[in-house]
């Protein structure tokens, strides 16, 4: 709305919004701050805010004692792998439904969505059993596959809504201009689809990174990603707040950054294109 608002009103909005924003963000801020404190400072009453001896000690300890980088690496492989693998299946599927729709397209899309609604706990044991049979339990490849499958519907949907926005007339124009299927995909479709593909991948990495049902139940020591590593702090020994904070900060930092870049796409992806 092109409308001038009184400065007073705007100031009031700003103060309230920033207050609420900081309140909501506070647990994350506090975690980050605590990760730089000593364990004693971390539980001090009254709490210490900014004026303490900032230390990187916790990060060093977390890495040394629990081999943090291995869990990080597992997370990277599982989230990245499931995303790449999923895209290889989802891009052709979404492409075909968006550009060569049939009478069944709508039903297929809705059915795919319904598989996403399947409660994981309902199929926990069968998957567990299959994983034991195939030797996939506590393996990165097994978890990568499962995460790919649970997020595949979202990937297809999101790509579908992006592809749908590419006007069919442009592809027809390319065809009239003499482009074959290969050239059409290479010179026209891909450049126009890249933003959509990129945001789909970002959202999927976030979802896979934070997934905490299958990662907790299908891994033990070898393939455990960060979600499972952090869960090991639920039965701690001694003072551990600062170390928990350091581990948590490292686990959420990459995703916070990716997430902030893909706010808009998040809405589209998580509502299956129903809200844009």
């Amino acid at each position: 709305m092109a409308r001038s608002v009184t400065t007073q009103r705007k100031t009031l909005n700003t103060v309230i919004a920033w207050g609420i924003g900081l309140l909501i963000f506070f647990p994350i801020l506090w975690t980050i701050l605590t990760s730089f404190k000593t364990e004693a400072q971390a539980i001090a009453d009254p709490p210490v805010w900014f004026f303490f001896d900032w230390t990187l000690e916790n990060y060093r300890v977390v890495q040394e004692r629990s081999n943090y980088s291995r869990f990080l690496w597992n997370s990277v492989i599982i989230a990245g792998g499931s995303t790449l693998l999923g895209m290889m299946v989802a891009i052709p599927a979404a492409w075909s439904m968006a550009f060569v729709p049939s009478t069944q397209t709508k039903n297929i899309l809705l059915w795919m969505l319904s598989t996403k609604m399947l409660p994981a706990v309902g199929v926990l044991y069968p998957i567990y059993l299959i994983f034991i049979q195939l030797g996939l339990l506590d393996s990165r490849i097994g978890l990568t596959l499962v995460l790919m499958l649970i997020n595949l519907p979202i990937m297809v949907w999101m790509l579908y809504t992006y592809f749908k926005e590419i006007p069919g007339e442009i592809l027809e124009a390319a065809r009239m201009d003499g482009a074959g299927l290969r050239q059409e995909i290479l010179y026209v479709l891909t450049p126009m689809a890249i933003p959509g593909i990129a945001s789909t991948m970002l959202l999927n990495i976030i979802l896979a990174w934070n997934e905490a049902f299958w990662t907790l139940n299908l891994t033990a020591a070898r393939a455990a990603p960060l979600t499972a590593f952090i869960a090991s702090y639920s039965s701690p020994e001694g003072l551990f707040y600062a170390k928990l904070s350091a581990a948590s900060t490292m686990a959420i930092a990459p995703i916070l950054i990716i997430g902030w870049f893909s706010q808009k796409q998040l809405v589209r992806g998580l509502t299956f294109g129903a809200v844009k």
Partner: protein, 334 residues
């Protein structure tokens, strides 16, 4: 060369027949306009010629060669789309050069042709911009540029002016007509706007529900519409169509008289009525006349200087030599 023949072409989507068997010949160099209300199948017909849709049966011949199963790119036709369909990620130069690049033409020749086209279309200053930075009229020119560089045997236009504002539309209409005069290439132009059809066409094809109602030059259609549909569609304001006793006096089910073929008087005439709305265009004035004793409101077109006001009594006399008569089925009586 670009002589296009449609031989008993049909198109159906599933159970729905959009185009029943249809024959049409478009001569080389002709400017043909497909006109009709929305949903009449005119765009579908164009897309069948382009090869963007498969025909359900029948054949399409381009320059005597059966093109029915030739893919769109190989038909030697160029198309200008309603939405312009420019490639948003390419500059104007690359957009125009795209068909040449696809044809594997060498870079120097590509550049020469692009620059020539840009010169003709006044696009030289914009060659390095992207479509998003251009106005509607400029985008339209880029789309035309992309079509002409290929030197196609025929141009296909799918309602190319419908996204432009009124003033620009008139300008582009002239430019396309001039282009046709210069290139003398076959052009097929789809529109729902009968003014565009009348002003641009050598030959108008009036379509209605997939059928061809009439084919002819603009003046043929104006002078001798074959049926009620064409009579009502061609001409602006619309022809007055009168049924009932008045029509029976002329041995017809319906008579048609164009608004410009009625003379007016303040004292005497065949019909007398009351002026409802008077639309003053300056050069002309349209009166909508009620209470004439006929069921229909009669529209009259007169010189802009003749003045009647709302509520004035007016007398109308039709010119019998240009009256159109139709039978019960809506077909023209001789």
């Amino acid at each position: 060369m670009g002589r296009i023949v449609l031989d008993k072409v049909t198109k159906s989507f599933g159970d729905v027949t959009v185009i029943p068997p249809l024959d049409l010949t478009i001569e080389d160099g002709e400017f043909t306009v497909f006109v009709g209300p929305s949903g009449c199948g005119k765009s579908t017909l164009l897309r069948l010629i382009a090869g963007l849709e498969d025909v359900s049966s029948g054949a399409i011949l381009i320059d005597g060669q059966d093109a029915t199963s030739i893919p769109p790119a190989k038909r030697g036709l160029a198309m200008v789309f309603q939405s312009y369909a420019l490639y948003p990620h390419m500059t104007v130069r690359k957009n125009i050069a795209f068909p040449l690049r696809m044809a594997g033409m060498d870079k120097a020749e590509q550049n020469r042709r692009v620059e020539q086209a840009a010169d003709v279309l006044n696009l030289t200053a914009y060659l390095d911009r992207r479509p998003g930075q251009l106005s509607g009229g400029q985008r339209q020119r880029v789309a035309i540029g992309r079509a002409i560089v290929r030197e196609p045997s025929a141009f296909l236009f799918d309602e190319p002016l419908s996204n432009l504002d009124a003033a620009l539309r008139v300008g582009m209409r002239l430019e396309i007509s001039e282009m046709h005069n210069r290139l003398q290439t076959t052009m097929i132009y789809v529109t729902h706007d009968q003014v565009e059809a009348m002003t641009m066409a050598d030959k108008i094809v009036v379509l209605h529900a997939g059928h061809i109602e009439q084919v002819g030059s603009p003046l043929d259609l104006y002078r001798a519409p074959k049926n009620l549909f064409v009579a009502g569609f061609i001409g602006s304001p619309k022809m007055n169509l009168i049924e009932g006793d008045e029509a029976r006096k002329h041995d017809a089910h319906t008579i048609g008289i164009r608004p410009e073929h009625l003379s007016v008087s303040s004292s005497e005439g065949t019909w007398s009525g009351v002026v409802g709305v008077a639309e003053h265009l300056g050069s002309d004035t349209f009166f909508h006349v009620h209470d004439t004793g006929l069921a229909e409101t009669i529209t009259v077109r007169v010189d802009g200087e003749i003045s009647f006001k709302h509520g004035d009594r007016i007398y109308l006399t039709p010119r019998n030599d240009v009256m159109h008569r139709f039978d019960k089925a809506g077909d023209r009586l001789p």
